[in-house]
């Protein structure tokens, strides 16, 4: 039986169980004077949980382990000598066996019966090709019996699994049903399950972190075994070079400082522009705007968050950068009489400005929701004292909304740090170390992408540095976040 069918049956069983449990609980409630601990609905869910959870766990476990077991079994039967004679590795040979096996399943029953251990692979291939199943030319006769066996094993495994899962579902339902009693704490159990699910959901964040660390760890260690950490962390020159064929003397320098500086600088400029605009927009929408205009403006601003960043990048490259450059030329000309630009077309300012546009909705929409949910009584309290609207907002509403707004700002800052395309096109890729916002700079993320997707040698320091950069950025933002948590805790205010 196919997995969806099994799922369907399990759900059917749990549904039946649930309905029966509901009836039973209801009659219990009616018959006995004692009150039910939990409502019949919970008894029903209780039984449904018993029916589904163990059986689905079994199903999942089976689906994961059975193929592994079967494949080790079949692989063990691959004749070593024959394999050695062919050009195939064990994995490839098994792949062919597998595709023959799955091809067998596609064949109609009468044709499948004609296939025996003795069928030469050529005949089988012909059969399969007629059904539109391509077969590798490297297939050999000895693979056919294995394919047949594999197929048989899979069929058996599936039948056993089907029966086991369905029986377990039925048993679970019965078990749950039997436990129904007036004092059964069905609600608590069901809520325990819900809670378990909630905990599982929040652990995904941790799993993701672990995953990220592990997907970068080995390469990072590899990198640091070639380039000394001191050189990386304290170097002020970023010039990795292209790893030339003989890699003679082209080790390059991997100074991290200019990238970090660029990241923080560009992020800061973007935040400096986006936060006031976003916050004021949010305040206006939440406090002043008519509901109607708000419901138009807000989604419009949200569109800014959804425009692909490459579009922003080209916007910066084609429009904003040259505009700022020409503007600076004019200004310089008017002030000093010397018509030369002091803002470069690619600059920290350009990148910050364009990135800020993208970030506006992060600040505005999230803050708007938070500000709106501050209770009216607080506003009334302040207005009733003769505060103006803006005073009310500044002194009462914003402080009350602060924890939420801080979260929104953190999220915004995070986006600013993680952005690539805009920086590449607006600020360039030159890793300068400068304080001048009119000069090009670049960020860690840009370099991660560049080093990872270039034509470099894949196990040279030039590529591996991407992992080191990613890891370092990860650790830095982690520290910043720990600090932010500490700050937020300190200033957390609860209103009511």
């Amino acid at each position: 039986m196919s997995t969806p069918t099994i799922l369907l049956i399990v759900f059917a069983i749990s549904l039946i169980g649930a309905v029966m449990a509901y009836r039973r609980a209801s009659t219990l409630a009616a018959a006995q004077a004692t009150q039910l601990h939990s409502r019949p609905v919970y008894h029903a869910s209780y039984v449904a949980c018993w029916a589904t959870i163990p059986s689905l766990l079994l199903l999942a476990a089976w689906l994961i382990t059975a193929p592994i077991l079967i494949s080790t079994d079949i692989r063990a039967k691959i004749p070593e000598e024959t394999l050695a004679q062919s050009e195939l590795t064990e994995g490839l040979a098994y792949g062919i066996v597998e595709s023959l096996g799955s091809g067998l399943r596609v064949l109609p029953a009468d044709e499948r019966e004609t296939v025996t251990d003795q069928t030469p692979v050529k005949d089988l291939s012909a059969l399969l090709r007629k059904r539109g199943v391509p077969v590798a030319s490297a297939g050999a006769d000895w693979m056919v019996p294995l394919a047949v066996e594999l197929n048989a094993l899979q069929v058996i495994s599936r039948w056993v699994m089907t029966i086991a899962v369905i029986v377990l579902a039925g048993f679970g339902a019965g078990w749950g049903y039997k436990k129904i009693a007036p004092r059964l704490r069905a609600r608590n159990s069901v809520e325990g399950v819900v809670r378990g699910a909630l905990i599982a959901a929040s652990s995904i964040a941790i799993l993701t972190t672990i995953g990220i660390v592990f997907s970068m760890l080995f390469e990072t260690v590899d990198f640091f075994s070639r380039i000394s950490p001191a050189e990386f962390f304290f170097g002020t020159v970023w010039e990795p070079r292209f790893s030339a064929a003989g890699s003679t003397g082209s080790a390059g320098s991997f100074g991290f400082i200019p990238l970090l500086a660029g990241t923080l600088y560009i992020g800061a400029v973007a935040m400096l522009i986006a936060v006031p605009i976003g916050l004021f927009a949010a305040i206006y929408m939440a406090e002043y705007a008519k509901n109607r205009s708000r419901s138009v403006v807000k989604p419009l601003l949200e569109v800014l968050a959804g425009i692909p960043t490459i579009v922003y990048g080209f916007f910066a490259l084609v429009t904003v950068g040259p505009f700022l450059r020409d503007l600076s030329t004019e200004i310089n000309g008017l002030v000093t009489g010397n018509y030369s630009s002091f803002i470069q077309a690619q600059s920290v300012l350009t990148a910050g400005l364009v990135m800020a546009i993208m970030l506006i909705p992060f600040v505005s929409s999230l803050s708007d929701d938070i500000i709106t949910s501050v209770p009216r009584s607080l506003r009334d309290g302040s207005l009733g004292l003769g505060a103006t609207r803006s005073e009310t907002i500044k002194k009462v509403v914003l402080p009350a909304a602060l924890p939420g707004i801080v979260s929104a700002l953190l999220l915004t800052a995070s986006r600013a740090i993680g952005e690539t395309m805009i920086v590449v096109l607006a600020a360039g890729v030159a890793a300068n170390l400068t304080l001048d916002p009119f000069q090009p700079m670049t960020t860690i993320t840009v370099k991660i992408v560049a080093q990872l997707t270039g034509d470099l040698e894949f196990d040279s320091p030039q590529t591996l540095v991407a992992f080191a950069l990613g890891m370092t950025l990860f650790v830095i933002t982690l520290c910043l976040n720990i600090y932010a948590l500490y700050i937020v805790r300190k200033y957390k205010e609860q209103y009511e």
Partner: protein
């Protein structure tokens, strides 16, 4: 792998691979059109060397040859039978805005304009040239602004070796460097070091980005692939090198000096397993795909001479593997 050919690698090769794949799908309706991933030679080869089996890719495109250490890494994962296939050249040209003056360059002039250190009056100094005219009187009096590929690009390697290093040698700067007390290695490094005073910008993206930058700054000179230039001839004006105008013909006959070979690597272990893989490679190397007048050449590929293409075909047929070649 699986039922479809899976290719990954260089974004320079991508347009050609796309054209071939599309035509392959149309010509061989039995096979599904191959999937061509883009992501750089590095990522492509890394995927390629991940191992053999249905979950790994079959072909890696590269705009450079595979490195020794990469071959080792491949071998460590069981990828030992690799065929290297060279299918053409990528011409690298210097071009400026169509509305500006034309440039007649040579490696020495480019070196003079772009190197971090140059020789002036016999002394090694930080590059003082601000206008092309300062470099050579024959060049237009225009501020030096150039967009060159960033160091993650294969093109950069070619640029450094065939332009900067050559120009360094030609102009005698290398000798002067060594005379000033640098050893061989330092001099070599100095030859390919690009000035960082802001007049030269690196581009880590594609040529579209370079083009956009040149449109925004009409005085700039940029480095492009020949194919890209040919598609945008109405916007760009190409510079001659040593008096030679780059074209498929001048590159193929070796007159134009700046070009690089393009490759793809085939996992031989997959040949019998992935349907159509062999046909794909042969189709790629066929006259109608990469020969004279083929769509890839229309697009800008510099084709291999016919005999060399024939050799690639026969090498592949014979199963000549990496390593066994040299």
């Amino acid at each position: 792998a699986g039922k479809q050919i899976h290719v990954a690698g260089s974004s320079t090769v991508l347009p050609y691979a796309q054209i071939v794949a599309e035509n392959f799908g149309e010509t061989f309706p039995d096979y599904q059109t191959p999937i061509i991933e883009s992501g750089g030679s590095s990522a492509g080869l890394k995927q390629f060397c991940q191992g053999v089996g249905p979950d790994t890719i079959d072909v890696a495109d590269a705009s450079r040859s595979i490195r020794e250490s990469e071959i080792e890494a491949c071998a460590a994962n069981g990828v030992t039978d690799i065929s290297e296939v060279k299918f053409g050249y990528d011409g690298i040209v210097f071009a400026s805005s169509a509305s500006g003056p034309s440039f007649a360059l040579d490696p020495a002039k480019i070196f003079g304009a772009m190197a971090a250190k140059v020789v002036k009056d016999g002394k090694v100094v930080a590059n003082p040239n601000t206008s092309w005219k300062d470099v050579d009187a024959s060049l237009p009096d225009q501020q030096i602004t150039a967009f060159i590929p960033a160091s993650n690009h294969g093109t950069r390697e070619v640029f450094e070796e065939k332009v900067l290093a050559a120009g360094c040698e030609e102009s005698g700067a290398k000798k002067a460097f060594m005379a000033s007390g640098m050893d061989e290695k330092q001099a070599k490094d100095a030859c390919i070091a690009v000035r960082t005073d802001g007049s030269i910008s690196e581009i880590s993206g594609d040529y579209t980005e370079t083009l956009a930058r040149i449109e925004a700054n009409k005085k700039a000179v940029g480095v492009f692939g020949l194919a890209f230039y040919e598609q945008n001839e109405d916007k760009l004006k190409v510079a001659t090198i040593d008096g030679i105008t780059p074209s498929a013909a001048t590159i193929a006959n070796g007159k134009y000096p700046v070009s690089r070979p393009l490759y793809f690597y085939v996992k031989r272990a997959h040949l019998g397993v992935v349907p159509g893989l062999k046909d794909y490679v042969n189709f790629f190397l066929s006259e109608q795909m990469t020969g004279e007048g083929s769509p890839t050449v229309d697009y800008g590929l510099v084709p291999l001479p016919n005999d060399e293409r024939a050799k690639q075909i026969s090498d592949f047929e014979k199963g000549v593997e990496l390593g066994s070649k040299s």
